[in-house]
């Protein structure tokens, strides 16, 4: 029998689509009985959507001068290889 504490691990696997049919049934059964875990899973899913949109996790687009510098290095590599 799953506990609510177990759910804080299993919920991640559920949302990642990473569980087999039996594990999904065990989780669905627990969720049927536990409103707090239903809330946890729903709000964890919302958290993941927030993270997907959060610019703090965005990588920086390189500037034109950064691109120029790397491209020049790559061209130099070709010359030295010849």
């Amino acid at each position: 029998m799953l506990t609510c504490k177990d759910m804080t691990t299993e919920a991640h696997a559920l949302l990642d689509g990473d569980l087999g049919p039996m594990a999904r049934i065990r989780i669905r059964f627990h969720l049927l009985l536990c409103k707090y875990c239903r809330r946890y899973v729903r709000q964890l899913a919302l958290t993941l959507n927030v993270l997907e949109k959060n610019p703090a996790l965005d990588e920086q687009t390189p500037t034109e001068s950064e691109i120029d510098a790397v491209v020049e290095q790559l061209k130099l590599l070709n010359k030295t290889d010849k």
């Binding site: 504490k5 991640h12 919302l46 927030v50 993270l51 996790l57 590599l77």
Partner: protein, 217 residues
């Protein structure tokens, strides 16, 4: 406005262009991948030498490209090279410990989610009922948004890198294992801890209207 389609959006065309030493292919590849390479290198070796590591990684990418077999996406393969270059650099500077070992120190669970259960492992302090049901509604005020920015910056580096690779860049857990060369179970631990930390910060904010990061904003 989105950029018009570029022929190099097709990975096979890009690879052919790079192998033919086509400068426009170089520029496209650098513009597309340099940012994520730098992001990852910074999380492994720190800001100071990340630029050098990425420069080295680009040279390794070009040298190894003729042997690229296409068993993974090009981007994933490039990030694996960055991760290896970064670890080599740490090794040279005798700062190297395997990333698996780093998860012991850097993956500390700061979410406090495990303290919210009784002896029977059922909720004693359940999550609050958030008033918002969409990311836009949740982030409608600037306060939570800046609180989350702060929280993400305060995550241990490997937790942040794993979170970014999974939630932002959409890599599978298996791809993240390969990129960082850490075990499946450690990737899960890093990811769960990072997600739960962000979850508890949103939960606290919804309940109190206050930010509970280490450096409150």
């Amino acid at each position: 406005m989105s950029e018009p389609n570029n022929k190099f959006d097709d990975e096979a065309v890009l690879i052919l262009g790079l192998l033919a030493q086509d400068e426009t292919a170089y520029r496209f590849a650098v513009k597309t991948h340099h940012g994520s390479m730098l992001y990852l290198a910074r999380r492994i070796v720190g800001d100071k030498i990340a630029d050098e590591v990425v420069q080295e990684a680009w040279l390794s990418v070009m040298k190894a490209l003729p042997r690229f077999e296409g068993r993974s996406k090009l981007k994933s393969w490039i990030l694996t090279i960055v991760s290896n270059e970064a670890k080599n650099r740490l090794r040279k500077e005798k700062r190297y410990v395997s990333l698996d070992a780093m998860t012991d120190d850097m993956g500390e669970d700061t979410s406090s989610i495990n303290e919210r259960f009784g002896k029977n492992e059922h909720w004693t302090e359940p999550p609050g009922d958030w008033r918002a049901d969409s990311p836009d509604a949740l982030l409608s005020g600037t306060e939570l948004s800046s609180c989350l920015d702060q929280a993400i910056r305060e995550l241990p580096a490997l937790q942040e890198a794993t979170l970014c690779l999974k939630e932002k860049q959409g890599y599978s857990l298996n791809e993240i294992c390969n990129i960082l060369d850490i075990s499946d179970s450690n990737v899960r631990v890093l990811l769960h801890r990072a997600r739960n930390k962000i979850f508890t910060i949103i939960d606290h904010f919804q309940l109190t209207g206050e930010c509970c990061t280490q450096t409150d904003t």
